[in-house]
């Protein structure tokens, strides 16, 4: 092993985040975009935990709880908004959101 195994956790965390970010940018389905954001947040969580383990400090783990709470609140509101979009336009395609221009 050339690197500490903990680095892999970091790598996984960042990879998760990147997958989420890329997915968010290239997918057009609202639900998928939304889930990509959740994926990003979970990547962040993993990074927090890994650093927490590196640094032997519990703060990072505490932050994970906060991030989870944030993520949960975002889920609740995000899904409600997507639902609203769907009820109004009958679609969850991002390209349909083009009422406003200029």
């Amino acid at each position: 092993m050339f690197v500490k195994p903990e680095y892999f956790f970091l790598l996984v965390g960042i990879t998760l985040f990147s997958i989420g970010a890329i997915g968010f940018l290239i997918r057009r389905n609202l639900i998928i975009c939304f889930m990509c954001i959740e994926l990003m947040l979970n990547g962040v969580n993993l990074v927090f935990i890994t650093f927490s383990h590196f640094l032997k400090s519990a703060i990072g783990m505490m932050y994970v709880l906060f991030v989870m709470a944030i993520a949960a609140a975002e889920v609740a509101i995000g899904l409600a908004i997507i639902l609203m979009v769907f009820r109004l336009t009958g679609s969850v395609d991002m390209d349909r959101l083009n009422t406003m221009k200029g």
Partner: protein, 477 residues
């Protein structure tokens, strides 16, 4: 350090109490009897303002290094509560008849003000994010208030997705900073950084860069501005007023807190970047605003431009520059709320320029008010907008950014074109009679009076606020 300084968060506690009262009133009082909810919300904000007066003063850090109460926080709280108060005042005739959930509306306004206040008082990055989310989540919902209006829903969706995305980016940045320094508390960040010998590790820079990106997104600086016009146009006008003044101020308190105070050492590396961003932001905002025919959308683009001006104050990164940001934000909040208070009266799906035709003489009071607000936006004396610009430019010139100031003043001259076009339609065109303002409401008139007097007062007697803002910046030479 672990003291539970409940007195310091008294204003927020009061507001949270009122938020719940409003929420429960929204839940239990039948909707036809919910008439005075805006009074209740306004009372909450007034009480919070009074409480803030009482608790403001000495500087303390409490709640396990999570909160910091200083003049900066105090002044920004005044801004947030004041904005909340004015928005509560102007909302009633606007949302009345448009939505049923009035209690929820005011509760969300109140709660997001609490979030803003937490952002201002935060002494830890994670606390900052919590405040930010408290604010943002409420505003996402407020944006989509008109459930049957496609534009409102669309704005909400866009705002939510991009807002959540930027929050995630910011959180990753915070995680990196935490990993690099082992702490996220502002005071300890500086200490830890110095203990490390001031080494700028890659992970620290990446963290700072990501947090900056997140903050710039909230500020709507180029290139993170794309959401602004759609969101501001689509959101209900009263909510746009709230966003354009309150949320913007909160975004800047984030900038001041994090970058000017906590990451001060690191930020010098980023000055060039921010300087360029400021230059591009104000220019692009103004140029695109020139093309708009929808007043709300125009104000959205102009808010981008104003963000650029304010960033100039941040680039200066001296006492004057940062104090000027606060002053500017106050003036900016007043004039935007005022302008939107006029707009909500004319709101009839669109807010297009020609709908205002001739209304200036038909409704002289509204015309006069709009004149004051528009000239303040241009930055002409004797208005608060002028003094704000003056103050910002002073800070930037002190720091030696001559070209930035020249660009900024030229930009503000350009901006005169589209701001004055509103007045062209209001005064120079014949009254079309197409749109009459919705029922004149005394609360809106009160909002207009408060904002216009405030703007003129700031323009003619800026001394008191100048002094106050400078007292906020005791950390800087």
């Amino acid at each position: 350090m672990g003291n539970f300084d409940l007195v310091s968060i008294l204003p927020d506690v009061i507001l949270i109490g009122f938020a719940f009262a409003l929420l429960l009133a929204g839940g239990f009082v039948p909707s036809e009897r919910q008439v005075n909810l805006n009074m209740l919300a306004g009372l909450g904000f007034l009480m919070a303002i009074v409480a803030n007066f009482i608790v403001m003063g000495s500087e303390r850090i409490s709640f396990f290094n999570m909160f910091m109460f200083d003049n900066l926080a105090g002044v920004f709280r005044f801004i947030f509560y004041g904005v909340g108060f004015l928005v509560a005042l102007l909302s009633e005739p606007y949302i009345c008849g448009r939505i049923r959930h009035k209690g929820e509306y005011y509760a969300l306004v109140t709660l997001s003000s609490v979030g803003m206040s937490f952002m201002a008082t935060s002494y830890d990055l994670i606390m900052l994010v919590l405040g930010l989310e408290t604010m943002s989540l409420s505003v996402y919902v407020l944006t989509g208030l008109f459930k049957t209006d496609e534009r409102s829903v669309e704005a909400s969706m866009k705002y939510f997705l991009l807002g959540a995305f930027s929050t995630a980016i910011m959180l990753l940045g915070i995680a990196f900073i935490y990993g690099a320094l082992g702490t996220t508390s502002y005071g300890q960040i500086v200490e830890a950084y110095q203990k490390m010998g001031g080494e700028k590790t890659g992970i620290l820079l990446a963290g700072v860069g990501l947090v900056l990106a997140g903050v710039l997104f909230k500020i709507a600086a180029v290139p993170f501005h794309m959401w602004t016009p759609d969101v501001y146009e689509g959101a209900p006008s009263s909510v746009t007023a709230f966003m354009i003044s309150g949320v913007k101020a909160a975004s800047f308190v984030m900038l001041i807190r994090v970058f000017a105070l906590a990451l001060k050492i690191v930020v010098f590396d980023l000055t060039t970047v921010v300087m360029l961003i400021a230059a591009v932001t104000m220019t692009l905002g103004n140029v695109t605003a020139l093309l708009q025919r929808n007043v709300k959308r125009m104000l959205a683009y102009s808010s981008i431009a104003h963000a650029g001006y304010i960033l100039v104050g941040f680039v200066a990164l001296n006492k004057t520059g940062l104090a000027a940001i606060i002053f500017y934000l106050v003036a900016y909040a007043l004039m935007n709320i005022g302008a939107f208070a006029v707009l909500v009266l004319f709101e009839d799906r669109g807010n297009y320029l020609d709908q205002l035709s001739g209304s200036g003489f038909k409704y002289p009071f509204l015309g006069l008010m709009m004149t004051i607000f528009m000239f303040s936006m241009v930055g002409l004396p004797p208005t608060g907008g002028f003094m704000g610009k003056f103050y910002i430019f002073k800070g930037a010139l002190e720091a030696g950014y001559v070209w930035l100031v020249v660009l900024a003043v030229l930009n503000s001259a350009v901006s005169a074109y589209f701001y004055l076009r509103v007045l062209v339609y209001m005064f120079f065109e014949e009254f079309s009679g197409a749109v009459a303002p919705s029922a004149q409401a005394s609360s809106v008139n009160l909002t207009l009076l408060i904002t216009s007097i405030g703007i003129l007062y700031l323009g003619i007697f800026p001394q008191s606020l100048f002094a106050l803002t400078e007292r906020c910046m005791t950390y800087l030479p």
